[in-house]
Symmetry: C2
Subunit: 196 residues, 2 copies
């Protein structure tokens, strides 16, 4: 029989949710506590055929998934616009850039130019570690690929340039703490972005 | 034969676009010029049945429209989180509150508590006038309904409490100018919301 890979340490209160479900649940928690208003963007669909039966709800009979032109999540936190992707890797030493798409990177560039707070929630599945990694250094890595740069971001760089998030109970992914750190680091670098 | 209502004055360069299409086009213009990153949120759907034909794209065969839990548009502009609804009325003297839903008002309350810039783009179809009306006074009117308040916002109040937007060519609905005025009015009232 096929040899099974050793399973990673069972996560605290892991009830088999996907990263996306865990983030959705965390967002719900944050909304209920009035701490942030962040939603997953619905997947855009191209609707081709809709039936309108009498006395009941319209039924979509033919539709196709469209490539999202932006990132997974956005919302507002303490007056800041948050915009982020959630991505996972099974790698243990680096995060592959092929997880990102051109249009996502372009969207992040645009949001950064508008002084949005943009990042990726990166999960290293096998290490069971989570990070918030800012869009700015990600974009540097992305652009360097074209001039022979590496195709992944080393974990060591994510540890120093990112902000680790530790799984908890309420919410499961308490990422706003890491967002506070990210905002503080930007404020030190550039001053308050509303203070022009 | 049925008597036809006199048509309202033809709008400048009106090519029969809906308000939503005009706003989408304006957002595209703003993105292309790097002035703001604002998108219409896709309509949330409940997907029931998907076919995965070999060698071609997945086809959604059964899905239903879900009531959106938030507003129509959001995005980032000069470091500010923007969140807004687009609504029209054929009335000429007031804007009916029945155009809004409870969950939209609740979403606006939450966004305001996070210091987001929330408003409605209101169009008076018959008058061919457009306004940005801030969420705060809208919510006051909304809440007063329960204690016998009026069911609509008088145009005179929208003229004084809102910011008129004049149709143009590029973009068709240049609403960021009115957003600047709204932000300026909030800054005078409360000070810079990032300056805590
Ligand atoms: Mg994702
Ligand atoms: Mg609407």
């Amino acid at each position: 029989p096929k040899k099974q890979m050793p399973r990673s340490r069972t996560r605290f209160d892991n009830r088999g949710m996907s990263l996306e479900e865990e983030i959705n649940e965390s967002n719900q928690f944050y909304r209920a506590r009035d701490l942030a208003v962040v939603y997953k963007k619905p997947i855009p669909l191209q609707i081709v055929k809709v039936d309108y039966p009498k006395r009941s709800a319209a039924v979509i009979k033919e539709a196709y998934f469209r490539q999202p032109s932006t990132t997974d999540y956005n919302g507002v936190y303490r007056g800041y616009y948050l915009d982020f992707e959630a991505k996972e890797t099974k790698n243990i030493a680096s995060f592959p850039l092929k997880n990102f798409h051109d249009h996502q990177i372009e969207h992040m560039r645009r949001c950064l130019r508008q002084a949005g707070i943009c990042f990726v929630i990166m999960r290293f599945v096998s290490l069971d570690r989570l990070f918030i990694y800012p869009a700015s250094p990600l974009i540097v890595y992305w652009d360097q690929q074209a001039s022979g740069g590496r195709k992944s971001i080393p974990l060591s760089q994510i540890e120093t340039g990112g902000f680790e998030v530790h799984y908890a109970l309420k919410p499961r992914i308490p990422y706003l703490g890491a967002v506070d750190q990210l905002i503080a680091s930007l404020t030190i670098q550039k001053g308050d972005h509303h203070g022009q």
